[in-house]
Symmetry: C2
Subunit: 364 residues, 2 copies
């Protein structure tokens, strides 16, 4: 069988630094597990704006489509704060989501025992936390038309965005969530604002019908988005899998991540549907940003990027064993007391990005 | 001068129970401070659906318009879970907001010292917390057209909602927030998703221009809504006043409330603009819901309703002294160790709704 094709897009800020550490794990896979990849790398985000005048080139989108999976770093920074709306670094990720139809963003929020004190929440509230948020990522208000800013006849302006969800858009992402719930804790909570938004009402109806039809074994519940924001703070361990739209998912998944107190640890996957040729487009990225303030200072935590690569092995390449080995290696490194600056706590040994990467390799 | 006219709308669940305790404070104002009100009371929410077939009657809306202020309880409950969309108990509050043009929802999130342990966050993170969230409440996706659910030609359906914000809608709510920032900590953070939504981009531009023009003394910052959800968990005390749109405000203000761990303590005000006759429409309500599960069990905490009444005195009747006396009385009751079930902690004395109300009266 041919080598798997990976497209690596490190992006801006700490993106390239943390991506470098993934290289060690790729090396280990080749040496010890006989797994080889065809890897190509390109610019996205601000780096691409600087080099090519656009946040992502058509060739890069085409390469992403042709790849078995995309490993993404992070984009953005103060340097591109005032570029025109269509040149924002974020456009790179928005375009990849849309053109590859990456509709299901999987955002785990897990608290590893060695890091339970990193949270601003009391240890008893977050110990053992293990939530999976499934966020819809190619629909809703992010892409709906009409949109824009227009001048009003009497003076002043008007900004418009449109939230649209269709039955099939809701069904396909809900299916991903139901499937995950089945292999996890068996519970799915669907989140919307059906009390004020018709798009949320349709969301609730479609998820309910799908559950009754195809997933009677999964315990389905519904929650309003405002209540969900509260419940995540009050008692986050009540949740197993959460499924929600693009905009609510943006806020709620970031909120859930912050409950862990260690953003530098959290990976994510964004999946499309299975194509006629059997491939399934997928992009993996850490949930942290490009952190321009610490870029180049060797402080960045590479674990989220390494764990994103582990998710890539699991979901895109069906290499569950290797994914689990990498995850276990990361946990052992933490248990041994090594910490990057972001998760440093008294009594631990503070290490740089590359020392952390080496430590993971050693544990492997 | 004529007595001030109050419209009291207790609503459903624990609404009537906690409203009853406000009566004691009203009595004290009459006896000790010579302040008398013309109070009328009516049904809203599920109670109104049951009695009149609608969640709020036109007469009640008219009475609200004629009043100097509205004191609202809470609406909703499982009994009305499956009523048609236009009969939801929530319609009562949505219609009052819209018809009275109550565009600025003020949501304080404060942690009183005696309750610092009620939070799921570590005491060091929330001690002394004092945030004011100003949420726009008559615009945005809650009311924008087109909206609805429609059948698609090929089968399936499509749910649509529209987010619209105009320059003047943004300006008037931002002004309320800037004015509050001025008399508080001097800092305002404006929250939107200007990186993906044009309505958010306009929001940011309008707030920026208003700040430069009329509030150069207020320190203005901007934050994306997803980041704000994270920052509220990571370090909530970085905020003074936050201003944001209807939908983000719904989630973020509930999130901020939950940081305090004591929803039963938190009041809110929703203000309109000053009318030609000098009156300013206003509605005051606790942020907790109707809690149907504990209704009738005498466990409900009446303090949020009492503190909402204190806000009414402050903002609608300019009775700052009395408002502060009521707030201080509530704090003293807590310091003396009395707790309703929701804020109970070891070593404290658990009391019923009415005992808590009596205790506040005694402290007055
Ligand atoms: C980069 C940006 C467009 C994006 C979003 O809002 O979806 C980010 O916040 C995320 O969650 O991936
Ligand atoms: C009752 C409901 C319509 C409402 C909202 O979503 O605005 C509630 O959550 C609130 O925050 O007051």
């Amino acid at each position: 069988t041919a080598n798997k094709k990976l497209l690596v897009l490190p992006g801006d800020g700490i993106g390239p630094e943390v991506m470098r550490e993934v290289g060690r794990v790729v090396g280990w896979l080749g040496r010890e597990r006989g797994v080889r990849f065809d890897i190509s790398e390109d610019l996205v985000g601000g780096a691409s704006v600087d080099a090519y005048g656009v946040p992502i080139r058509d060739e890069v989108v085409a390469a992403a489509k042709a790849a078995d999976a995309v490993l993404f770093g992070a984009v953005g920074g103060p340097k591109w704060k005032d570029v025109p709306f269509e040149l924002r670094p974020e456009v790179a990720i928005l375009r990849l989501r849309q053109e590859l139809e990456l509709f299901a963003n999987l955002r785990p929020a897990t608290v590893l025992d060695p890091l339970v004190d990193a949270s601003t929440l009391k240890p008893d509230v977050v110990r053992g936390l293990d939530i999976m948020i499934v966020r819809e990522t190619v629909g809703g208000i992010y892409f709906g038309e009409p949109r824009g800013i227009e001048d009003l006849p009497g003076g002043g302006q008007r900004g418009i965005n449109t939230e649209i969800y269709t039955t099939s858009e809701i069904e396909r992402v809900a299916r991903v969530a139901f499937d995950l719930a089945r292999v996890r804790g068996g519970k799915l909570c669907s989140v919307e604002k059906s009390n004020v938004m018709e798009s949320g009402l349709l969301w609730k109806q479609v998820v309910t019908a799908l559950g009754e039809r195809d997933y009677p074994d999964v315990e389905l519940s519904h929650m309003l988005a405002d209540n969900c924001a509260m419940q995540l703070v009050r008692n986050p361990r009540q949740f197993d899998v959460i499924v929600t739209g693009n905009l609510f998912g943006d806020l709620l998944s970031d909120l859930a991540s912050m409950l862990t107190g260690s953003l530098g640890m959290l990976p994510s996957a964004t999946l499309g549907g299975v194509l006629p040729d059997g491939r399934r487009p997928a992009l993996y990225e850490p949930i942290h940003g490009s952190a321009p303030d610490i870029a180049g200072t060797r402080q960045a935590n590479p674990l989220a990027q390494i764990l994103s690569f582990a998710m890539l092995l699991r979901y895109s390449l069906k290499m569950e064993a290797e994914a689990a080995m990498i995850e276990a290696a990361c946990t052992r490194v933490l248990s041994s007391g090594l910490r990057t600056a972001d998760i440093m706590s008294p009594g631990m040994a503070r290490v740089s990005t590359s020392v952390m990467g080496e430590a993971v390799l050693r544990e492997l």
